[in-house]
Symmetry: C2
Subunit: 336 residues, 2 copies
């Protein structure tokens, strides 16, 4: 099917294409009645404005690219980020294009390239956890469009970034567990050296130091992936080797579910034999084997704040914009 | 920062812009060594090909738009669709742009318009549940680009569509519950008259009719939203009014979790007092209050199949392409 052009609309209304263009771009020189008639005709003919022309002439396409980095069986936290981002963007008149790098540096390169080609006004990127410096980010920087890194970063301090605090959340969790009488705690965490991993460890240690206690390195297990299945597997392995601990703090709620499943399978009681604490406060915490005590983190606010920060950059109002993120707090249920 | 153009590359290599263009577009008339040198220079300068030009000249941008329709606290099934779709698209050399219509007809219009403007090669759309005919879909049709509707449709039989079967899954669930001795079953389902809602009811009734039993209309509760919170609220209301039933089949696992929470709060035993059965088989089923017996549905395969179908349409090979979706089956855990 042939696409409708400005010429088609002009021919139907028996006016010049120039008049049609002026009307559709809200420029002066067309009477209001004619403008309405032109717009209505354009709509009836399904006319699609030539945004390529807009892109080439440097005008905003009012589109933000959001590059997530989610593998299978994810924590629903990603969807809270997306929801917050879309709501804020919508309120500011922007659309969001979502891409997923699937923790793969080449895929990340491809989606960033695509977003550059599609002339987005800016990007929010949750970068791939890459041991060397991430050249994909350099590419975005060199393309000269505004961008904000999301949620996690360690090697990339030279980039604008927004994320939820991990240190204070883990400090609160450690303090809470100590108050509940737990001083031999395992920390089940991720494989890679994300800043979010290190900050949680720092926060946990700080809570212990405050009480004159040490947090031994051998209580930190860094081998866990973010799935129930893997966390359960790792926890079962630990339970075969030692049972001297009375509590587990997991990197996030999904890992806590895995630990819970393993403890349950070993016929240990939660929290009487082993207390389990999560991190994030996702909706499934309410209905887990034992409803999960956790640290609330506001990913919805993170999504909103990232978009706010990016739009300020796009519109040249960086200095006006200091998005505030709410503090973490403990949500008591029944697992501690 | 100024964007790199073909002229910049030509100036550096001291050749004509026309040669650069031929090399970058893989056209004949450039020696292999020079072609490689031009491509390398383009990469070093972060040259971004002018996809707007490509769009205007009708060439493929190798991009698929995927319009989801997810509100807050979603079932993770959506992410399985995305993962399957991205994997299949990637294997075929396509990128995926994801948008969310948030069950809002105006937002759906905006994202479809954006994807048309960005010149995607085709779209996969999970349409908004709109009581009247959805004009957004007519717009896509009239734009003349290939599209496939995903997962649910009732008013839109005139559009190409792929989705998982609901009838057989609900038939299997009904048969399973009857075999376990349950003949007074409540069905907790969604508010709107999606075909997926009606087909589950048909399947459930068919299992009952097969055994010479009727399934009374008053056992069907159509007032539920797809969140744990709402399903729990609805179930508590039911439990205050009647306790004559021995089992609940929920529209999906998230609603089953809500029902489970309500039954648990009323200090009824699962499954001894009330059996609970879900639909979908999401990862959290393994760690719910009582691990959830459910119907497995392969959303990952659905995502892959939708992309396969769309790419066949884009590439004019419709007739070669009949994507097969795996059958539903019962996953036995401990809630029935």
């Amino acid at each position: 099917m042939k696409k409708t052009t400005i010429k088609d609309i002009a021919a139907i209304l028996n006016i010049s294409p120039h008049t049609v263009s002026k009307a559709l771009n809200n420029k002066p020189g067309v009477g209001e009645e004619m403008r309405q008639q032109i717009k209505q005709t354009a709509q009836e003919l399904n006319y699609i404005p030539n945004i390529f022309g807009k892109g080439l002439s440097g005008k905003s396409s009012k589109t933000i690219g959001l590059v997530l980095n989610v593998t299978t069986s994810p924590s629903p936290t990603y969807w809270y980020i997306v929801t917050g981002a879309e709501e804020k963007a919508g309120a500011c008149g922007y659309n969001v294009m979502l891409c997923n790098s699937v923790e793969d540096i080449q895929k990340e390169a491809a989606v960033i390239q695509m977003l550059l080609e599609k002339r987005v006004d800016g990007m929010i990127i949750s970068p791939v956890d890459h041991p060397q410096d991430n050249h994909n980010l350099e590419k975005v920087k060199q393309a000269g469009i505004p961008y904000v890194l999301l949620a996690r970063t360690i090697h990339f301090q030279q980039h604008p970034c927004i994320r939820l605090d991990s240190r204070r959340g883990a400090y609160l969790a450690g303090k809470y567990l100590i108050e509940k009488g737990h001083t031999n705690i395992l920390h089940l965490t991720r494989q890679y050296s994300l800043i979010a991993v290190e900050e949680r460890i720092e926060g946990l240690k700080a809570a212990f130091h405050e009480k004159g206690l040490a947090f031994p390195e051998e209580n930190i297990y860094r081998e866990c992936q973010e799935t129930i299945e893997n966390a359960s597997y790792v926890m079962l392995k630990i339970l075969r080797e030692r049972r001297d601990f009375t509590a587990v703090l997991a990197y996030n709620d999904v890992m806590a579910f895995g630990a819970m499943k393993a403890v349950h399978e070993c016929r240990l009681r939660i929290p009487a034999d082993v207390a389990i604490m999560g991190f994030d406060n996702i909706s499934f915490d309410e209905i887990s084997l034992v409803p999960l005590t956790t640290v609330n983190r506001d990913f919805y606010a993170l999504g909103r704040a990232a978009v706010e920060m990016l739009i300020c950059m796009i519109e040249g109002r960086q200095n006006e914009c200091v998005p505030a993120l709410p503090d973490s707090y403990i949500v008591e249920r029944q697992s501690v």
